[in-house]
């Protein structure tokens, strides 16, 4: 039972991170219909930027964290400006090729700088953040990551619901022509979705780095898990991304815990195939409002 609870907590924590980084992926897809194959590299970029700021620049952790978020935000913005914008209106296949190319470039650059070895952050989370319920103990990194995830979800919820920019972003995802007709800067919205997506990916990258250590190959492979997550949640549903993330996270940890660790990394993709076969639009894809 204790083992079960432990896995449950781990699964929820990992799942939140998958969900949140998938949220970034869904945002890009919803606003500009771009399928971003460089998502894992954005994740890794965040993890390594944080590493650089903490170890090389010796910045205090909170400052490094905020700077990393700012840095990945700018990275996303620049990527959209330089690479995606010239391709607006081009066939999907070209855009997909571009993001695949982008993935190799980012990965190559990180390999060049940090190599393919496993790096670790210095221990900085205070032990006091860990929780103990009887035999179940939640290590500090898990409590932190759950707290950060919930904080991010809240912030984004508020942003999309109440801020003008958030509402413009939703309007573009909803009906691009109508948004154009009202003077919404659609290109700015694309840029902003890339920036926010890179930021949340970077944030997940840091936390995953704290949990598993930082390795280019591993982090970019985790990025690929957005596909099972978003296919499960429905490509166009931000809430679905979170739930999809939780399901994949739990599935993984329980498979790893009860069946075998080698099956753990495969199970998300097995789920992906099964879902594509039975519910291609995802479990939580938007219910199309057909009234109009």
């Amino acid at each position: 039972m204790d083992f079960f609870l432990q896995l449950l907590v781990n699964g929820i924590c990992i799942g939140f991170l998958y969900g949140i980084s998938a949220m970034g992926f869904v945002m890009i897809f919803k606003s500009s219909s771009v399928v971003n194959f460089a998502h894992g590299e954005l994740l890794a970029a965040g993890a390594f930027l944080f590493l650089a700021l903490v170890t090389w620049a010796n910045l205090p952790v909170p400052a490094a964290f905020l700077l990393t978020l700012a840095g990945t935000f700018i990275l996303g913005f620049v990527i959209e400006r330089l690479f995606l914008r010239p391709l607006i209106g081009e066939p999907l296949i070209e855009v997909v090729m571009l993001t695949i190319g982008l993935a190799s470039i980012l990965k190559g650059a990180m390999l060049l700088i940090w190599g393919g070895n496993l790096h670790n952050y210095p221990d900085f989370l205070p032990e006091g953040l860990g929780l103990h319920f009887g035999a179940v103990s939640i290590p500090p990194v898990y409590t932190t990551s759950i707290l950060i995830s919930i904080l991010f979800l809240l912030l984004f919820g508020l942003f999309f619901k109440f801020s003008s920019q958030g509402i413009y972003m939703r309007s573009v995802a909803d009906n691009q022509t109508a948004a154009l007709s009202l003077g919404v800067h659609v290109k700015k919205v694309f840029a902003l979705s890339w920036a926010i997506a890179a930021l949340v990916a970077g944030m997940s990258g840091i936390v995953l780095g704290i949990i598993n250590g930082i390795n280019v190959h591993e982090l970019s492979a985790i990025g690929l898990k957005v596909f099972p997550v978003v296919i499960l949640g429905g490509l166009d549903s931000i809430g679905g991304a979170i739930i999809g993330g939780l399901i994949i996270g739990l599935l993984e940890t329980f498979t790893g815990g009860y069946i075998s660790t080698s099956l753990r990394d495969v199970i998300p993709y097995i789920a992906l195939v099964v879902i594509l076969l039975i519910r291609p639009y995802g479990l939580f894809g938007l219910v199309e409002i057909e009234r109009v």
Partner: protein, 266 residues
């Protein structure tokens, strides 16, 4: 050029995808504070004309290849929709097109995109004044509104932008006669109270000419007739083809043929 002309199209040609020519030399003028109605059958090029003005041809791979469009005495053809909307030209699209997953009030809020960051409370009140139904529905998702409510919504959304020139594409499309009357009554009110100049594209010629000051008739990408709305209403060809008041009364095969003949002449 008269000083009170707000918008002028000079012999414009519009081509989609570099090959499909849709407008073949359209010229028209819209005076400030007037309602100008643009009539014509399906596929005549009315929507294309509006999109040429609002810059919305671009995303459809269309282009003004010849002629000029001047607005407030500046040429504006082929500018981006972002630029054109900021000059005060707002198009209300054919077939309504709400943001389905946004609430009514959020839809209205998107209407303030051209002046992002400025207060808009007063404008919301103004829109709710014209369309009290919207106030009742303001927390509902737009996707669940009725056709009439949606037409009010998209017009209100456009009003939020403080347009100087409002381009309305078939506001009566698919609405019950009573609702159409209500919509048209409000169009007149907006024109009078907000001093908004309006270009009204319509299939419903009698309603449109009833509220317009001036009218144009399009066929096959050209203007084939123009005149003061009152004169157009009396014109026998308009009566026959657009107002459904053919002198012959009951329709027969002969009439249909006559219709075709006359239409070619038009």
């Amino acid at each position: 050029m008269d000083s009170d002309i707000l918008l002028q199209l000079n012999n414009i040609t519009v081509v989609y995808s570099d090959v499909i020519q849709v407008l073949r030399g359209v010229s028209l003028a819209v005076r400030e504070r007037q309602i100008v109605s643009l009539l014509g059958s399906n596929g005549a090029g009315k929507t294309t004309t509006l999109k040429a003005v609002s810059g919305l041809l671009k995303p459809e791979n269309g282009k003004v290849t010849d002629g000029t469009i001047s607005y407030e005495d500046k040429t504006v053809q082929n500018l981006s929709p972002e630029e054109i909307t900021r000059k005060g030209i707002i198009q209300v699209l054919e077939g309504r097109q709400p943001f389905k997953y946004l609430t009514v009030e959020e839809n209205l809020k998107v209407g303030t995109a051209t002046r992002w960051g400025k207060p808009y409370r007063k404008d919301l009140e103004m829109v709710y004044n014209y369309f009290p139904r919207l106030k009742e529905r303001r927390k509902n998702l737009a996707g669940y509104c009725s056709g009439g409510e949606l037409q009010m919504l998209v017009m209100g959304r456009a009003l939020m932008a403080h347009p100087k020139l409002l381009l309305l594409d078939e506001p009566s499309l698919g609405l019950a006669p009573l609702v159409v009357q209500e919509i048209f009554r409000i169009i007149v009110k907006i024109n009078e109270e907000q001093q908004t100049t309006i270009v009204l594209v319509e299939q419903n010629a009698s309603m449109a000419l009833g509220i317009a000051h001036y009218g144009y008739v399009m066929e096959n990408g050209k203007i084939v007739m123009e005149g003061r709305a009152g004169d157009l209403q009396k014109n026998p060809d308009i009566k026959e083809f657009y107002l459904g008041m053919g002198a012959a009364g009951a329709k027969s095969y002969k009439d249909v043929k006559a219709y075709k003949r006359r239409k070619r002449w038009l």
